[in-house]
Amino acid sequence: MPDQSLVLAVAAAQLILLFSIPIEMFLVSRSWIRGEYDVRDTLANVGVSIGSIFFWGTLSWILLGVVAVVYKHRLLSIPFTWWTFLLAFVLEDLRYYWWHRIGHRSRWFWASHVVHHSSQHFNLSTNLRQSWTSEFSGLILMGVPLAYIGFSPALVGVAFSLNLLYQFWIHTEAIKRMPAWFEWLLNTPSHHRVHHGSNPRYLDANYAGVFMIWDRMFGSFVAEQDEEPARYGLVKNLGTFNPIRIALHEYAGIFRDQLRPGLSVAQRIGYFFGPPGWSRDGLHSTTAGLRAAEAARGTRSLPKAATGQCSDCRESGLRDASATP
């Protein structure tokens, strides 16, 4: 079992990071660092965060219960040592990669994760905009394999928390680039700006939590380009700061689409589990459709990574990530 002090240290770190948000906002307001805050957007983030904590706190027993049951039937009994912890951390990050990737590629799971991408701003407070429905989506079952292998739920929990803690600092425009070796190995603000971009070339890219190697291995890595700053938010951006609408809007969209008259079973499944933006009329706004349209337009070339062929994606400096009108 992990030492209780480690669990407390993680919890304390979470609180410290939370209070770094007003610090970044202060520095941005003085133009000492790069970034932008919008009062309504940030307060919406706080509102969404409160709901997320409430639902996670009251419903996480579902996940914990499932993991505990599976752990009882584990294959191995893995002790808590520094190397098993490192192994758990790496495997947990791999789990996060696939959880995240599925969360972007299928609308039912996207309906939960879209909340985090719904802000048109990108700053530390964006961390707070988290799903209210992660316990319902079914993706929590991805927490099961590590417990089945034999990593204790507490060990996995600490690895999961540290993974999320790492991702806090990458939600910022203040940091342009880290050293090259760091950018190659680990997730950084530059990589994560791409992940939050709604530009066709940046959609569905850079799913990594901590180690960028997963994206490089599985063909989803896209480097930030100087000539194309990330346009944060969604393909169809929201017109509300209401936390309830932010948290549930995609579910409402699914429900609305299911009510369309004359749908076949395949079309209903398409609206439910198809890629976000899928449409029966063929006028898709899916990532593939948007990239194809952009390629046909011929205004700019798409990165090789967009087709999973990235072997020489160019790293480049950030020119202007702000899309302020």
Partner: protein, 147 residues
């Protein structure tokens, strides 16, 4: 107990942020300078869009009569950013006019309503008519015009 602490911490951070916002003030909202800028912003999300643009009198929104395929584009300031939609008949719930403002209620949980202030009465009436015509193409949408 942990949940209460976490929620309390969020509220405290929210209050600190609110105080900082109040102290330093956010820069004023953007305004559309004209049809060209409106179309340019709209094209960030709909790159092939072209049409005739009516910019709201307050510069906070624009309606676009799309061509060559008939349709209506909507652009509205959302905080410091712009949100846009290519409206379909199924998007429209009600269209109402109050003074020189067209209030559009949308069947979109993530964008329930928007207002477009059009000072010119002829242009306003034209847009109400156009939006009603669009809504009439939907079987489900029952548009109530209070123009």
């Amino acid at each position: 107990m942990e949940i209460v602490i976490a929620i309390a911490a969020n509220i405290v951070v929210g209050l600190i942020l609110l105080a900082l916002f109040a102290w330093y003030r956010s820069p004023g909202n953007a305004r559309l300078s004209g049809p060209d800028e409106a179309l340019s912003i709209y094209r960030q999300h709909f790159p092939d869009a072209s049409g005739t643009v009516t910019v709201a009198a307050d510069g906070l929104a624009a309606l676009i009569s799309l061509r060559p395929a008939p349709g209506v584009g909507l652009l509205q300031l959302h905080g410091k950013r712009w949100s846009s939609r290519e409206l379909t008949p199924e998007d429209l719930r009600t269209i109402a006019v109050e003074g020189d403002v067209i209030n559009i209620s949308l069947l979109d949980f993530g964008w329930p309503r928007c207002s477009v202030r059009i000072a010119d009465p002829d242009s306003r009436a034209d847009w109400v008519s156009r939006l009603n015509a669009l809504a009439a193409r939907s079987e489900r949408s029952k548009v109530a015009s209070h123009a």
